[in-house]
Subunit: 213 residues, 2 copies
Amino acid sequence: MTNGESATRIQVERRARILEAGLDVFAAEGFRGATVDGIARAAGLSKPNLLYYFPTKEAIYVALLGGLLDMWLDPLRALDPSGDPLTEMLAYIRRKLLLARDFPRESRLFAGEILRGAPEMGEMLSVDLRELVDARASVIARWMDAGCLARSDPHHLIFSIWALTQHYADFEVQVRAVLGRARDPWAEAEAELERHFRRVLKPDAPPAPQDRP
Amino acid sequence: MTNGESATRIQVERRARILEAGLDVFAAEGFRGATVDGIARAAGLSKPNLLYYFPTKEAIYVALLGGLLDMWLDPLRALDPSGDPLTEMLAYIRRKLLLARDFPRESRLFAGEILRGAPEMGEMLSVDLRELVDARASVIARWMDAGCLARSDPHHLIFSIWALTQHYADFEVQVRAVLGRARDPWAEAEAELERHFRRVLKPDAPPAPQDRP
DNA sequence: CGTCACTTTGACCAGACGGTCAAATCCAGA
DNA sequence: TCTGGATTTGACCGTCTGGTCAAAGTGACG
């Protein structure tokens, strides 16, 4: 198997294992708190061996972040401008919540990066993220203009969706501490968020002024 | 000035300076990222001198957290069970948002601690925090029963308030990246949050069935 | 002025950490 | 079986970090 230009089967497998381990450790300890030794141990490799696949600790971190933003924005990207507005929005909210539920490590890694001021992500945020959000915000604005959704600022509406969904992943300890052991945060969140956003999104005055003769 | 039992004027002043500096550094770099030297420099002291006032780095951190939770819960504590429900809730939301706006370092410090699983705060969360939230949640539940507020789960309603208000402080870089430089996140947030929660809180059916003869 | 508790500091230490390197091991293909 | 690149590793290095310590400085009060 002469290596034409890129990865050996082992390289592919090892890199994946390292990223998986890195996600675990970075999400739990943060960038500064994570140690190369710790990641290597979690990946079942020796430290020098890990450094054979990624030159630095930072390289692992940025590799993770790179793949992350895409995944994180997928639900928003999937918002269909030609669908039914309320259905589309509620589906987006649900997708986002399930993403946070099923990938809490990714959510926390992302949150940690932003909390620290996004030193490794600044560019992505103000370019890729902003473009996508602006595009979707204008779709939402159109829906509001058409009277299909209650009027509000689309950007802040999106923020509210992010804030609420990620809260359950990023602040899970707090949520659990408050709710106690008997309750199921995620199941409740799913129901409550739908109720919450139905209220927020439902247009208040039905846009039919002349059907009461 | 023989020291009867507690602090010298210098001790008071130095401890305060150290906590202030610690807040700065911990909020920006996280617990692991912060260095004793860094905090000492920010406080204008030498490292051993700082360690003369606080025995360890952790001691500074927990001292900060201790004072923090109280401050952080004040707006919720101030919720008046005998006030007008909608007014009280909107006032609470506004207080919480202004707190996040005026004390973003505190907000981020808190967020970082929770993100990491609240290793130094577990107790406080599941005791003090939980008690207060349970108490206020039952007040809110009573308001809902009386038809003064739309029905929903009070705990999750509180979560939604926390999530939305703190989002603007903790994820400020992201918010700014998306909104661009021309817009003022905090001013907009104030207006949007009021609109948002008016919708969420306003009871849907006015509880007066017999005043249309 | 002398005392004594309070305060400050330079020098130092042990451990942890990110990263390097040369040597060893593995393994697919000839 | 031999070969050469891919892979793995133990030993090592310089730096950083949390924390210690003995000694020096400071100032209020007798």
